[in-house]
């Protein structure tokens, strides 16, 4: 029969024996009270402003995307006008050459024209 069912005396490890334990408990209590108090007071002005940062950034990103899209559309419509004139000119020249030679433009000729248009 052993005494393994009896507690071991661990009292030298009792933190309350040390003076600094009381100081630690009090410091923890103060920090904790501040943390719990902050829950009642709610967020401060800085926290509120930092909370706005995300929606403001999101709105700015959406605005940027809309403006960017609009600008790209405007740019495309402006830059595509001369391209369309050039295409029309090429189509006219092809038709004229076909009439002069008395033949219908071949599929390859039309494909080449369309490829150039796409470029």
């Amino acid at each position: 029969m052993t005494d393994d069912w009896e507690p071991v005396d661990l009292s030298p490890l009792d933190p309350a024996r040390r003076g600094d334990w009381t100081a630690l408990v009090e410091a923890t209590r103060r920090a904790m009270a501040a943390a719990v108090g902050a829950r009642v007071l709610g967020p401060g002005p800085l926290e509120i402003m930092s909370g706005w940062a995300r929606p403001i950034l999101a709105a700015a990103a959406v605005l940027l995307a809309i403006l960017g899209g609009a600008e790209a559309m405007l740019h495309r419509s402006v830059s595509s006008a001369p391209a369309r004139l050039g295409d029309a000119r090429r189509l006219a020249l092809l038709s004229e050459a076909s009439v002069a030679h008395g033949r219908v433009p071949s599929g390859a000729e039309l494909r080449t024209l369309l490829r150039e248009q796409a470029r």
Partner: protein, 179 residues
């Protein structure tokens, strides 16, 4: 009437600092025992216990089961203590072992107490971490088998077994030390 953990957690969430005080009275020493079981160093255990407790109060909204606040809190403290040990291991690049920070006490009684603490910490170092937690919570903090089982997520029989083995090892090591 005894406040339940769940009731205290709800009150802390509503901003009641007295409820937080009750949780501190109920658990801070247990946090320290668990931290000591991990770090093996009293000063580090104090740091990890304080940091862990405050972190738990700050993030109390994330405690999914307030009725099991104790186990959740002890896990936070355990993680803090492990991180502390890991950081120190990297910094010091020396093997992890339980040790006692040397004190500057000059009085004979103080020196004797320091030696006793050192021997106990060295004896505890020979146990597994769960055995250390169990024996510290039971024999130092006075928790029951059932309380330890509930908070550590173990069966009560397992707690009894860990405690039995921990005490046997501690006594053997301490007796060898004295011989």
């Amino acid at each position: 009437m005894e406040d339940t953990d769940a009731a205290l957690v709800a009150r802390v969430r509503a901003g009641d600092s007295r409820a937080a005080d009750r949780l501190l009275e109920r658990y801070l020493r247990a946090c320290r025992a668990v931290a000591l079981a991990v770090t093996g160093d009293e000063a580090d255990a104090d740091d990890a216990c304080q940091e862990g407790f405050l972190a738990a109060i700050e993030q109390i909204d994330t405690c999914r089961n307030p009725a099991r606040f104790g186990g959740w809190l002890l896990q936070i403290v355990r993680n803090r203590a492990r991180n502390l040990v890991r950081r120190q291991a990297v910094r010091a690049a020396e093997p992890l072992e339980l040790h006692q920070v040397a004190g500057g006490a000059s009085a004979a009684a103080e020196v004797e107490r320091d030696e006793l603490r050192e021997r106990l910490l060295a004896a505890l170092a020979a146990l597994s971490q769960v055995q250390r937690e169990v024996v510290l919570l039971h024999d130092l903090e006075g928790w029951t088998h059932e309380e330890i089982a509930g908070h550590l997520g173990l069966a009560a029989g397992t707690v009894r077994s860990h405690l039995h083995h921990a005490r046997r090892h501690l006594r053997r090591i301490l007796n060898e030390d004295l011989a």
